[in-house]
């Protein structure tokens, strides 16, 4: 039989029982819609996270002590802290670097007059602003002298300014951290939330030396931030830093590093990895609905074949070959599930658009998943339609003709 006629015939058979056909493909519609919306929203979430993290600067490396961490906020090991000498060595010994900044953090109450505010204190140098591409809104950066000598000066973030000084200009005023009075020399530009939900503007920056000497009482640098020049591969800089630090920290050949250099890509991979696993898991659950839908198709096709026994007998008598009948019912099942697939795609994309809008992630249209969903639904029809079609094709024409 001609394929065009077969498809036409299948559509007509389906249209004869619109309600039953619609109910039959509901399982497929729900299955496909669920998979499509899961994957689409999942891709949107992944893209949002990726965009956010990339926004921090994809050319930044974080050097921390301890073994590699799985995701942000993991536990530190007891490995030796870095020192300012390490930073100097990196700056002089590794090519392709824009800035190397120390980063030691602590939590303090910032007090000025009657106001006080709990905030994060970062001990660092001007390189921190350079590496993070963080401009000043007002005032000035640290002077060389203040950094070398550990002056009691600070730069404050927008949140700290708002909380303590309100609309007043903070420049030249003093705030106390513990018992030490710091003179505010600069106000940082607003930076907003980090992708982990932290308010980056809730910060007071002081020279690293001040923090070491007057607060921590040591010469430790918790972590190092390295900004790589544009056009220089981060991985080459990363390995440069690794070999240099191994040497400086006296790590023998074959021993594991007791520090870790991470680039943003790695953080992105860790975070998106989680999203991807979740998406896959949810899609698998949704996929089960496709299987159930397929069984529904098989059930209805069996009923349809039985109902049309006489028709099948007539067709066999007037010239249909076994394969013609097989093809007819197979095509009917495939057309049925393909309609289900198309409807599922429309429903799934609409649902994804709505959910993306509500939870505030971008709507990512993935053509691959659309095509896959369509092909899978057609395949479901082929697999679950085969048995009923086989039953129809192998009917005895005489018995089929006599069937009442």
């Amino acid at each position: 039989m001609l394929i065009r006629e077969t498809i036409f015939l299948a559509i007509r058979a389906i249209r004869r029982n619109v309600l039953r056909s619609s109910l039959t493909i509901l399982g497929i519609v729900i299955g496909v819609a669920a998979v499509i919306s899961m994957v689409t929203v999942g891709s949107g979430a992944t893209q949002k996270v990726t965009d956010d993290i990339s926004g921090l600067g994809s050319n930044i490396l974080h050097v921390r002590t301890g073994q590699g961490m799985r995701g942000p906020g993991g536990a530190r090991s007891s490995a030796d802290a870095f020192t300012m000498e390490d930073l100097t060595a990196i700056r002089n010994g590794v090519a392709g670097i824009v800035a190397v900044a120390p980063n030691s953090q602590t939590s303090k109450q910032a007090i000025a007059g009657n106001s006080n505010w709990s905030t994060t204190v970062i001990g660092t140098t001007n390189d921190y602003l350079l590496a993070n591409n963080w401009p000043m809104k007002d005032g000035r950066e640290f002077s060389d002298n203040e950094i070398k000598a550990g002056g009691a000066v600070c730069l404050i973030g927008e949140t700290v300014k708002e909380e303590i000084f309100g609309d007043e200009s903070p420049l030249g005023k003093t705030i106390r951290l513990d018992t030490i009075a710091f003179k505010i020399i600069g106000l940082l530009e607003e930076k907003g939330q980090s992708n982990f939900g932290q308010d980056q503007d809730d910060v007071v920056m002081i020279p690293i030396k001040t923090l070491q000497r007057r607060m921590a009482g040591n010469t430790d640098v918790d972590s190092i931030i390295v900004s790589v020049k544009d056009g220089v591969s981060t991985s080459s800089v990363q390995s440069g830093i690794e070999s240099l630090l191994r040497e400086r920290r006296g790590i023998k050949q074959g021993d594991d590093d007791d520090f870790h250099v991470r680039d943003m890509k790695e953080i992105i991979e860790t975070v998106t990895g989680t999203t991807t696993v979740l998406t896959a898991l949810l899609s698998a659950v949704a996929g089960v609905s496709l299987l159930v839908g397929g069984i529904g198709i098989m059930n209805i096709m069996m009923v349809s074949v039985t109902e049309r026994t006489r028709e099948i007998g007539t067709r066999l008598a007037i010239g249909a070959l076994e394969n013609d009948v097989l093809l007819q019912f197979l095509v009917e099942a495939v057309v049925l599930t393909s309609f289900g697939g198309l409807a599922g795609i429309v429903v799934g994309l609409s649902a994804a658009a709505l959910i993306s809008h509500i939870i505030g992630v971008p709507f990512v249209f993935t053509p691959g998943i659309i095509i896959t969903a369509f092909l899978v639904s057609a395949l479901v029809g082929m697999v679950f339609g085969y048995f009923p079609a086989r039953k129809a094709a192998s009917m005895n024409p005489i018995e089929a003709l006599r069937y009442e």
Binding site: M1, T314, L316, A317, I318, G319, L321, E322, I398
Partner: protein, 243 residues
């Protein structure tokens, strides 16, 4: 004139049945539908097979129509031994050479007369345009060209059977097999149908084999075969019928 006389004539033998039996079921439930039937049918004949219910006439027709296979004996259609053919090969034979008419018409419901007639042509992979022309011609010959877009539900019984005849002859078969074609029709419609079959037999030279239990209808045939208890009781060429 006897059947053997006719065999001597120079006519192509279309069907050759030799000593066939057909047993349904097995063991104690076994039912012998045919018990050693031998029969030749030549091209251009109009044969009526008669007999009481269960006499084997329908079974014989089904075997001739390659819908069923005999338990023993041999069946040659146009010198092809049908016994040794596969299910699919028998279907091919039906598709190419046979036309069927059933008592219950067996038209596809909710499908127009034209599409019903086109059906055998679809299986022959004839392109749509040509199919349409051939089906309209066939409907024209049964006098239903004007009714081509009507569905079986919108047609009378006689008209439905005429559509079925158009469907059976549209593929220009060598033989038309009719199982009680007038069984569901009143006498006026029955006469119409018989006249029509007679016409195709005479004018187109289509061989007709018809099962009927109505003697009036059998009168239209050139040859009447009576079945009883699975055997042929009599096989008569009708007087006054030209061959």
């Amino acid at each position: 004139m006897t059947v053997s006389d006719m065999n001597s004539k120079d006519r192509t033998r279309l069907i050759q049945i030799e000593n066939i039996t057909k047993i349904y079921g097995n063991g104690q439930n076994a039912m012998k539908a045919l018990d050693g039937v031998s029969l030749d049918i030549h091209q251009g004949e109009f044969v009526a097979m008669m007999g009481p219910s269960g006499s084997g006439k329908s079974t014989c027709l089904n075997i001739m129509g390659c819908l069923d296979t005999p338990t023993s004996g041999s069946y040659h259609f146009d010198d092809v031994r049908v016994n040794s053919l596969s299910r699919n090969q028998r279907a091919l034979l039906r598709k190419q050479f046979l036309g069927f008419i059933f008592q219950g018409f067996n038209l596809l419901s909710r499908t127009s007369a034209l599409e019903n007639v086109e059906l055998p042509l679809i299986y022959r992979k004839i392109p749509a345009k040509q199919r349409h022309v051939l089906a309209m011609e066939a409907l024209e010959t049964v006098g239903l060209a004007k009714w081509y877009h009507h569905t079986p539900a919108e047609l009378s019984g006689g008209q439905q059977q005429r559509v079925a005849i158009a469907r059976a002859i549209v593929g220009k078969p060598k033989i038309l097999l009719a199982d009680e074609p007038t069984g569901n029709l009143d006498s006026t419609r029955s006469v119409e149908i018989m006249e029509m079959m007679k016409k195709f037999n005479r004018e187109e030279g289509i061989t007709v084999v018809m099962v009927t239990h109505e003697p009036d209808m059998a009168e239209y045939a050139d040859r009447q075969i009576f079945f009883q208890d699975g055997v042929i009781k009599s096989d008569t060429l009708m007087e006054g019928q030209s061959c």
